[in-house]
Subunit: 363 residues, 2 copies
């Protein structure tokens, strides 16, 4: 009983690969025979330095990140990045462009607005956040210090299928919910950030990938702990990092390599999402997908049933069948299946069977 | 071999209670039979809400915290608090008093200085940070918005033996390295903060205990993630917290209760420290304690040998004998034995034996 597992569709914190959990369990009281847990070893020890390096190199290899980018591990989640970005790159004056495709881009904008001048260059709010703009639709402000967008919106379930090209404007991307789910062209970006708790590891660590030329524009004499340069100069350790979180990230990277890297993950993720969207599309309207087809997320599949009562019944019955965490975000309702890297195809197949059965019984 | 344990004198991250690690190991793949790891469950789930409540109540019970104080779990370590405190309580104008007793109070002051006006009302720098001021020595500025001090300085090994009384000035205390090591009079404080990685849990969580009247003075319209009020209003979860870290804190609190609470821990900690200081004092000068006797830390015992070469030899031989992490902080050198709550008395006795033997062989 204690170690039975269920299918966990949570949007984050989210499912982790079982081999990662097993390794963490095995090493809990003594990391590689050193006589201490990873949680207990000094962040200045050779053991932890190797863990940090392994996590960093793992991310660099998987995403093929060029050498003119730094990989940093911070705390505070994507939410702290919503603030650090404008504090570092906007507070000195000028304006930044924001692309608004859902709740998370709204939140990022709100913090930037407290700090400086912004322009919304695209918003899909009027349509109920069912779409993302095409590259051709985007018109950057000539003087924009950067353009910010969210590559996947977990709440609405919309995702960019392309790497946004800033045409000279530095591109800053919140990739919290789809990083490492597919190959991307890192060179299109000036800064990519991601809370770890969806595709990378546990909550409490944020991965920041920042290009050197952007880093150099961070102002001097700001609060040390909010200064990207300080983290870069001290190898992510101006202070004690979340050592356990970074350890789990290193194990997740090892697992991703063993699965064949991001090309392999992308193929699997597409297959998983396709199964679910096919179930929605073939349900004769019993299930209604939220996102427009061309903006459908491969990570968070969002859909509605005919009534809130039926949605509640769906989630309760699913939960009773070992399909956990399907309730949509409290702000929008509906149903959401989050199927990140570590979510197994068997779980998607089980959900599809359940969906078909539930529709047959409730049509 | 894999699960042998050593004596870990690290200053933080630091040793955790073995029963806590064993429990975390047991529940790694399925927390209380729910089919998910704690790292995988949603922070909005009933399971995690119970964990958060347990951690909070555990700290409240152990420290006997009155109801007009909020207990918050943040990220970013004490270092983020060095910034958040002046950003919340000094940036609007006025001045704050700082008591300087070592590296950590210096760092806190440096961040406040970037933000507003400060006064050093006491510093022990000239003496090499071997002492702390008495209550009687302290003269608060009549208009000080708050007074900030560090109750235990890990690098120099000096500790306040009393709860500083602000005589009307709100007292803010960095208690990172001695919180939960003894009973304190919480009502003397307006804000107590502590990075978890010494006496409370793993790195990546900061505990903040804040009195309601101070909380109410936090300014509106600041960056959400740097706003104490935002954390208080959202039960520490305006965004995803470090769920694993909070889980371990809840287990550590359970363990502390089972040990008899803080009165019991204080007694044990005094005994452990007394053994080490007695070994220093009876060594005929072979070991020279850094701190003045009345300021000696119960948590971090710092001492020197006759030369750096001898200190290096001491630490290397100790390490080879399963006594790990004794090297002093890189900024001051020497030897440091950190003996937090979870550090066993048997480890102190082993170190004392080693010290006596080493002195005999090298005198």
């Amino acid at each position: 009983m204690l170690n039975h597992r269920i299918y966990n569709f949570s949007s984050g914190p989210a499912v982790l690969p079982v081999p990662v959990l097993e390794k963490a369990r095995e090493e809990m009281l003594s990391y590689r025979g050193c006589g201490m847990s990873v949680m207990e070893i000094s962040h200045r020890s050779s053991q932890f330095e190797a863990i940090l390096e392994s996590a960093k190199q793992g991310i660099r290899d998987l995403l093929q990140i060029p050498n003119n980018y730094q990989i940093l591990f911070l705390q505070g989640g994507a939410s702290l990045q919503f603030s650090m970005i404008p504090m570092n790159f906007l507070a000195g004056g000028g304006s930044a462009d924001y692309v608004i495709t859902g709740t998370w881009s709204e939140k990022a904008l709100a913090e930037a607005d407290r700090c400086g001048s912004t322009r919304i260059i695209s918003t899909k709010k009027d349509g109920g956040y069912k779409a993302v703009p095409t590259q051709e639709e985007l018109r950057f402000s000539p003087d924009a210090l950067y353009v910010h967008y969210v590559s996947n919106e977990t709440i609405h379930g919309v995702e960019f299928t392309y790497d946004l090209d800033g045409h000279g404007t530095p591109v800053i991307c919140d990739a919290s919910s789809n990083i490492l789910s597919k190959a991307i062209d890192v060179e299109k970006y000036a800064l990519i950030y991601a809370g770890a708790q969806k595709n990378i590891g546990p909550s409490g660590v944020t991965v920041v990938i920042i290009r050197d030329d952007l880093l150099e524009t961070a102002p001097k004499n700001q609060q040390s702990i909010l200064d990207y340069r300080n983290f870069a100069e001290h190898g992510s350790m101006p202070n004690t990092p979340n050592t356990w979180g970074i350890y789990i990230i290193s194990l997740v990277c090892d697992w991703l390599h063993a699965q064949g890297g991001l090309a392999s993950m992308e193929k699997r993720n597409k297959e998983k999402a396709a199964l679910l969207y096919a179930a929605i599309d073939s349900s004769d309207g019993f299930y209604a997908g939220h996102a427009e087809r061309q903006a459908r997320s491969q990570m968070n599949v969002t859909f509605r049933l005919a009534s809130e009562g039926l949605e509640r019944k769906f989630c309760e019955e699913a939960d009773a069948n070992g399909l956990n965490g399907l309730k949509g975000h409290r702000s929008v309702g509906g149903v959401r299946a989050s199927i990140y890297n570590a979510f197994p195809k068997s779980g998607v197949e089980t959900l599809v069977d359940f969906m078909n059965d539930f529709a047959a019984r409730n049509s």
